[in-house]
């Protein structure tokens, strides 16, 4: 298992670079597979409850692109002269949107992996002292995200109990209560931090995470992948020029495969355990 936050940061940097830079559909599909495979052994039984929102997020660029772009030669259908959305709707535009949507989806997936694997305490412990206070702020902000989702659920339930609409159209009415609960919680966090002596003098560290060989492997692999992705970028996919994507270069594929190291080390250690038990 990879535990060191520095290793995960290196991995996330390379994976994000790949998500932003590699716009080849084959590479994007491969990266998605790798990220999922890394997520599964580290999720520790937790489920991603917000996947519907993430998928919806990925669909937004497709809709925008196909509805607003008038370029492209592969016409799906033509709308009569309605302002803005009237005219030719093209497959090219839809594919262009899908490519952007996939990049978004990958970005969110990489963050989901980091959120599951990195304990905020470990991350704080490796931060250089000058960054410590800023780091804690970030840790708190990260802790807020899931709590905000759960308070959103309780607010929706409350509205249902009061016999008010609970559909998406009621979203604006949910916003104010959400803001209020989040603010109240933030104030309480502040008091708690204060009462527990946060920032009173220089800090010490409880149980720093030790370095292991797999950690180093992940860092080396991720840096190599990063270098390959940035220095020899894959040929970008532009459906307006050619609707069929080009085959990815070998080095692009190899670079992505390096990002699978966190998953591979888990599998290897399991094989090792199995051999011991046999």
């Amino acid at each position: 298992m990879i535990r060191h936050p520095v290793a995960w940061c290196a991995w996330a940097t390379a994976a994000l670079a790949a998500a932003f830079i590699d716009r080849n559909p084959f590479l994007q599909a491969l990266l998605l597979l790798i990220v999922i495979n890394v997520f599964i052994p580290y999720r520790a039984g937790r489920r991603i409850r917000t996947w519907k929102i993430v998928v919806a997020l990925a669909l937004v660029p497709i809709i925008f692109s196909v509805a607003l772009s008038r370029f492209g030669t592969h016409v799906l259908f033509t709308l009569p002269g309605i302002p803005i959305i009237g005219g030719r709707w093209t497959l090219d535009a839809a594919l262009f949107g899908a490519s952007t949507g996939a990049a978004l989806l990958l970005t969110v997936a990489v963050f989901a992996v980091v959120q599951t694997t990195v304990r905020s305490a470990d991350l704080l412990a490796v931060l250089p002292r000058p960054f410590y206070r800023a780091g804690t702020t970030v840790a708190l902000a990260l802790a807020f995200a899931p709590k905000t989702v759960s308070s959103l659920q309780s607010i929706r339930e409350a509205r249902q109990i009061r016999g008010q609409r609970a559909g998406w159209r009621s979203a604006p009415q949910l916003l104010l209560p959400l803001l209020l609960t989040t603010l109240e919680r933030a104030l309480q966090y502040g008091e708690s931090l204060d009462a527990r002596g946060f920032g009173s003098r220089s800090r010490s560290r409880y149980r720093p995470v030790p370095w292991t060989v797999p950690d180093v492997l992940v860092i080396v692999g991720s840096l190599a992948a990063l270098a390959a992705i940035v220095l020899v970028p894959a040929q970008p996919y532009n459906p307006y020029l050619n609707i069929l994507p080009s085959a990815p270069a070998t080095n692009g594929i190899l670079a992505l495969l390096l990002l699978a190291i966190p998953a591979i080390t888990v599998s290897l250690s399991r094989l090792d355990h199995a051999a011991h038990h046999a």
Partner: protein, 503 residues
């Protein structure tokens, strides 16, 4: 020399009309246990926050007088400097943790003090044993229940070896079993470590036998008294004290053990519960439930349950956590669809959830009550322009009931007395009686035995999704080990409340 001294402390929140604290002077000697009580909104949290400087450092406002805590003047020393000396446990179990898992959280305060690693390790092991949370040490905070979180919070506060522990209603958001677990931890710290403790707590009967002083706050004015004198005077107090005052027992017993000796002088209780038939049970049937079943992901929560409710009847639904009480209420309210069986209701049913706060989000009380009939809004005339979430917990509870249940004839309340002080509980009782007299059927899921014995005319006991006892309080609660009132534990028989015991 006192550990904490309050000297003429006065405080007013920014833009508040009335001061929250008025000329408060008191002292805490080392090793003392102090119970802070007072109606909700009387300034208990404010006073406790003065002890570690959160008031006025994090709240602003006008502060007068001085607080010397562990040798530091809170006017010149920030809360973070007092953090090493005063351990503070907040009311809400979920808002005081910074990191994601238990061990990291236990070490957080010590890391802030810059303690060396081996010492931190030793102390983490020690507080884990002292508080009894070894089974939780590897868990993530977000998977813990409220009671487990409060125990972790106490352990985290204890790890820095504070000179005093301050707890602000640590059990008010918990169910009774979890509350009992948390209070047991506190009592053990007091007994084994002689920990100086200041605690605001509504479960007075649980801790009264252990306290050295009782501080009673009313509208910001503090009375610092001997426990017996304070309890004799009024406020939240254990039922045995009520009985002792009626019977003229002196010195007043503070707990069951002290009271046993006096109880032998009482007349023998009737062997069978006194008949209570006809009390509010004659009303017309308003709701019938037949063969109800509900499962969450295949796990049964309600199993083949049948029940009928009558107008004018107040029913208390009791049982341990996870016995299906909330599910049953939600099924009757129509918020859940039964997977088998039917709910026949002749009137609108309204459900008020445990966390009434979640229901109130408007800018003013007036906005919350918009669209309600004038008689529902009448009790709130004084507060119409206030911000609902600034009301005290009891006031919020009443407002939530008014908002949700004004026009309903079937009222379903989930743990409505959690965190309420006795006065507000009594007001809630009276309010429910009025609604019942007007023809409503009321079902209350509650763990609060004393309040149920006083308020309900029918008790249902529930376990494993089934109802296993049904009858008037005198019959159901009198021969119970778990759901027995303090008086019933003392004298047995059908007497549940101090005023029922003939003298």
């Amino acid at each position: 020399m006192p550990l904490i001294t309050l000297d003429g402390v006065g405080y007013r929140y920014p833009e508040a009309e009335r001061p929250a604290l008025v000329d408060v002077s008191a002292a805490v000697e080392p090793g003392q246990v102090i119970l802070l009580r007072g109606p909700s909104g009387s300034g208990k949290s404010t006073l406790l926050r003065c002890l570690n400087g959160l008031v006025p450092h994090s709240t602003g406002g006008e502060f007068g007088g001085r607080v010397i805590a562990c040798g530091l003047d809170t006017r010149t020393h920030a809360p973070r400097e007092l953090g090493a000396r005063i351990g503070f446990v907040f009311q809400h179990p979920d808002a005081q943790f910074v990191l994601d898992d238990v061990e990291a959280e236990l070490a957080f305060g010590m890391e802030n003090l810059g303690l060396p690693g081996p010492l931190m390790r030793k102390r983490v092991e020690e507080v884990i044993d002292q508080v009894g949370i070894n089974h939780l040490r590897r868990r993530r905070i977000d998977t813990l229940s409220g009671g487990e979180r409060q125990r972790v919070a106490i352990a985290a506060a204890l790890a820095v070896h504070p000179q005093a522990l301050v707890l602000d209603e640590p059990t008010s958001q918990l169910d009774p079993q979890a509350a009992e677990d948390v209070l047991q931890v506190v009592m053990r710290l007091v007994a084994e470590l002689g920990m100086t403790t200041v605690i605001a707590e509504h479960r007075v009967e649980r801790i009264a036998p252990f306290v050295d002083r009782i501080w009673t706050l009313d509208a910001g004015v503090l009375k610092d008294q001997d426990p017996r004198a304070a309890l004799a005077e009024g406020g939240a107090r254990p039922p045995v004290v009520d009985l002792a005052l009626r019977a003229g027992w002196t010195p007043i017993p503070l707990g069951l053990r002290d009271a046993r000796a006096y109880a032998q002088r009482l007349p023998k209780p009737p062997p069978y519960p006194p008949p209570q038939a006809g009390e509010g049970i004659s009303g017309k049937s308003i709701c019938r439930v037949e063969g109800l079943e509900y499962r969450y992901n295949g796990v049964p929560a309600v199993r083949g349950l049948s029940l009928s409710l009558r107008r004018g009847q107040i029913t208390a639904l009791m049982g341990r956590n996870g016995s299906g009480k909330t599910t049953l209420l939600k099924l009757i309210a129509g918020l859940l669809r039964p997977q088998r069986g039917t709910v026949y209701a002749d009137a609108r049913a309204a459900y008020v959830p445990q966390d009434a706060d979640a229901l109130l989000f408007s800018a003013t009380v007036d906005d919350e009550l918009r669209g309600q009939p004038p008689e529902a809004a009448a009790p709130f005339q004084r507060w119409l322009h206030r911000y609902p979430r600034d009301l005290s917990s009891g006031e919020r509870q009443q407002l939530a009931i008014a908002v949700v249940a004004a026009q309903a004839d079937i009222l379903l309340l989930d743990e409505p007395t959690r965190g309420l002080d006795p006065l507000v509980k009594k007001a809630l009782s009276d309010f429910l009686r009025i609604r019942a007299a007007a023809g409503a059927a009321i079902v209350i899921a509650t763990h609060d035995v004393e309040w149920a014995a006083r308020t309900a005319d029918r008790i249902l006991l529930m376990a494993e999704g089934e109802i296993y006892a049904d009858g008037p309080p005198g019959a159901v609660l009198s021969d119970s080990l778990v759901f027995a009132t303090q008086i019933s534990k003392l004298v047995g028989g059908g007497w549940l409340l101090p005023e029922q015991v003939p003298l």
